[in-house]
Amino acid sequence: MKWTAKDVDAYHQAKEYVDTALVPCIPIGSTNMKAFAEMSEHTLFITNEVERQFKGRVMLFPPLTYFVQEQIQARVHEWTNVLKQAGFQHVCFVTSHADIADDSFIYVPALPLEHADEAYKQKVVRQQVEQVMDALVAKWTLKN
């Protein structure tokens, strides 16, 4: 489900089934803007695709957006706590930003620009979508 009025209605009807929060993390930088914009596009594309396939159990939240010089860990903790309190047993952060990607994130590196090859790009994107879905399924099976 997405963070839209319509989907939130659906969420209220089916709360007990939607136990996973998916949060894209998007860096903003004042230099090297293009690279950050690419990370943003990439992360959002991947998380959208995961939402499409896992709609019934996953709520895709609007991105946690931060400046590159910000300390992000504290905010990630806070989001995790708040979302858990709201009833999301599993809270997952996804990022393409290598600098922050530790164990609390699922890391999906954006594609280097030089690779113009469409088929290759699609393959990598598909693999990353699967990687995120596998990570979610792993969380679900651990819990049950």
Binding site: A10, A14, Y17, V18, R52, Q53, F54, K55, G56, R57, M133, V137, W140
Partner: protein, 169 residues
């Protein structure tokens, strides 16, 4: 007497006019509401074109997933949305194209997705199960069978249209 009659008819006149004005106002308020309510229905009815999805010679008795794109018109712009279908030939050799969208809450189902339930479609979200023909397995969350795509075969190519609840397709 004549005055009384006169008054009554004036009241009647007022009654009629006011009802008339009120009616107009009500119509003014209601008609957009009715339009809004009907709009999604009208939109859905505006048929969808058939899309080429696979070569018939590639279709086996084992369900395979084919991905394709459909053009979706939203009031302001047209976009392409990804779709998938699980396609196979049944015992009679007829093509079956199932929508992978779980009838419970809309996750994507997989053929043979669960080791302990071979030859069934599996929904990883809440462990919904469907038989090969799309029938939902009782005592799993899905309330209905998987939708079936309308299909057409032309020159060896499979075209898919809209996915419809079983019984309609």
């Amino acid at each position: 007497m004549s005055e009384k009659k006169h008054r009554v008819s004036r009241r009647q006149f007022l009654n009629y006019t006011l009802t008339g004005v009120g009616g107009f106002m009500a119509a003014g308020i209601l008609s957009p509401m009715v339009r809004f309510a009907l709009d999604p229905i009208l939109k859905e009815e505006a048929g969808q074109d058939m899309v080429a999805v696979a070569q018939v010679k590639d279709i086996t008795t084992e369900p395979q997933r084919f991905d394709f794109k459909v053009k979706v018109k939203d009031a302001w712009y047209e976009s392409e949305e990804p779709r998938s279908a699980w396609v196979f030939k049944d015992e009679k050799g007829d093509i079956v194209a199932l929508s992978p969208i779980c009838k419970h809450l809309g996750c994507t189902v997989n053929w043979n997705g669960d080791k302990s339930n071979p030859n069934r479609f599996f929904c990883p979200c809440h462990y919904g199960l469907y038989e090969k023909d799309g029938t939902n397995v009782p005592n799993t969350p899905p309330p209905a069978p998987l939708d079936r795509y309308e299909y057409e075969v032309k020159d060896g190519t499979l075209y898919l249209g809209k996915a419809k609840p079983r019984g309609e397709a």
